[in-house]
Symmetry: C2
Subunit: 337 residues, 2 copies
């Protein structure tokens, strides 16, 4: 393991790939890797990219990767598919991507699919981000398919979150947009050569400025500064950028916006605020995992089974059952978890 971690630090692609596989399959490998590499992380700019199917995310991620590469930076790409909770396997966009980016040793690509629990996938993705960070990738693109909770998790893990839309995605997109405002640092209208693109850009800009004031992201929270005079620093005005990823149009402007957002985070206290939020979320997750592990060790399987069966049969409510589990813990250990 020590040798493998040293090779990862030296940015050897095979070692990186092998470590990721280890980390995906073993909690103890994850602990060793993350705790050893942790002090070398914190250098990368983590960029989340999300949006509904059909918005052209994969193509846009490719173009972003090529754009960052032109500036010389090695780029890590993590393609996460939470809509595939049980089956592994490559994402739809992967074949295109591989053909397009193959042969560039400055690009590392990894696909990840959930294995039944989003906690698991979010944790594994966070570990892979750290591995690529410690391996010296200054730009890490994390792409997810689909909508909903996965987006929130991306927003939590990334410094800069891009939400991609395409014109004419149907009426249902309206319900979807309500939650997006609070997640996006940058809104992208891709496929801008399609009819209705201008209307989509305008609609998004209107939603961003809806109500009395201006919706801004600040310390990872949403503030509506109704009538406030926004300070020139500390407030990020979410831009709407039109792109045609298949032609590369708008991509340099999008990269410039991403870099402006990074500069904004660093100039304000937002970078540290986001790192602290992420750190606490990670610690919370480890605390929970720790509790469940100790429970497994301490409470006899038959006792647990009896309580679960009683709850399932409505003989006992879940609160009472949990109180009994916790009492069992104190009885047998005599000390805190």
């Amino acid at each position: 393991m020590d040798d493998l971690l040293a090779q990862v630090r030296a940015s050897r692609p095979r070692a990186i790939a092998r470590l990721i596989t280890l980390v995906e399959n073993s909690a103890s490998a994850m602990e060793t890797a993350v705790s050893t590499l942790y002090s070398f992380t914190g250098q990368a700019h983590v960029i989340g990219i999300t949006g509904p199917p059909g918005s052209g995310k994969s193509t846009l991620v490719n173009e972003l990767a090529k754009g960052f590469r032109r500036q010389g930076a090695p780029v890590g790409i993590i393609a996460v598919d939470p809509s595939s909770p049980f089956s592994g396997g490559a994402l739809l966009g992967d074949r295109v991507r591989m053909r397009d980016l193959a042969g560039d040793s400055g690009i590392f690509i990894r696909s990840m699919a959930s294995r039944g629990s989003l906690g698991g996938l979010a944790e594994a993705t966070a570990a892979v981000v750290k591995i690529l960070d410690a391996a010296g990738f200054p730009v890490i693109l994390v792409e997810t398919v689909g909508a909903g909770q996965a987006e929130v998790d991306i927003a939590n893990a990334a410094h800069t979150t891009l939400v991609i839309e395409a014109p004419g995605m149907g009426d249902d997109i309206q319900t979807f947009k309500a939650g997006i405002l609070e997640i996006a640092d940058i809104l992208v209208v891709n496929k801008a050569d399609r009819p209705g693109a201008d209307r989509t850009v305008k609609a998004l800009e209107m939603m961003l400025h809806m109500g009395e004031g201006t919706v801004v992201r600040h310390h990872g929270r949403v503030l509506t500064a109704a009538g406030d005079q926004p300070a020139t620093h500390g407030v990020w005005q979410v831009p709407v950028q039109a792109t045609i990823a298949t032609q590369g149009a708008g991509v340099p402007e999008l990269i410039a916006a991403i870099q402006r957002h990074k500069a904004h985070l660093q100039a304000t206290s937002d970078w540290l605020a986001r790192e602290k939020e992420r750190s606490w979320r990670e610690m919370e997750h480890l605390l929970r995992a720790n509790l469940l592990r100790r429970l497994q060790v301490t409470v006899a399987p038959e006792k647990r089974e009896a309580l679960v069966t009683a709850v399932a049969a409505r003989e006992m409510d879940p609160y009472t059952a949990v109180a009994e589990l916790l009492a069992q813990l104190s009885d047998t250990t005599g000390r805190a978890l």
Copy 2:
């Protein structure tokens, strides 16, 4: 509260609505309501309905509700929108639904939007299911918008899970289907009057019988019975049902399939197995919430803040920080959680 709970048991709509609002806004109200009502639950057949935007879910849910009503059963409908994580507000389909089902006192409808955490939404939805169950609704339809983790959570909470597709939803649907096979108890191809509907039905049937054997759901797990002789009981063959919800076509057949699935669960040990899985998931959630609450009470905010800041600044790795938090817990309490 006692009076309110009694009125809920008497199935008074206003009391039900008021209790749900209380439960959504207060953890202690949720504990009181769930633990008091719990022994009256376990009677309802909980049916999850999911699928991508544009598949016509809301209309189909309406038709299902009307179909069950024709058989005399009161129907509860919970419309969950996890894609709207911060903003509340009604679902897109609600206006249609309200107009269509208004005036039938045997139908209770409630919309729910996430407030930033899926754990929170899943927990709140589970509590509302219990409230409607204890209020005497024998059929509860839980509809979610979107794809991904929300589907898995529905599958976890429901006895019978319907996955809705529509013909011609684009190529991205292929990536989406991989995870669906394991979640669906019944696959529905809605908008079956659209071109390509037959092809979609055939494609889904092929995917269900892909590989050497047959994919079946059994005890909430996926088994691939390659070459096995499936027993006539204990094995559920996932059917594919075509519907045109706007015309009600295929809906009686779909209701029959739902009822066959219920009979199957009850004839095998699968009903209890699903209840036990759900019970354990609920207990796990309560355990975690309990730990975090005790942590908040026991560890000084400055200590927590110092650890989080050290992790954010890469001065300490998260595993070490969590070990320190837990040590702090033992020191101050001297007893187990």
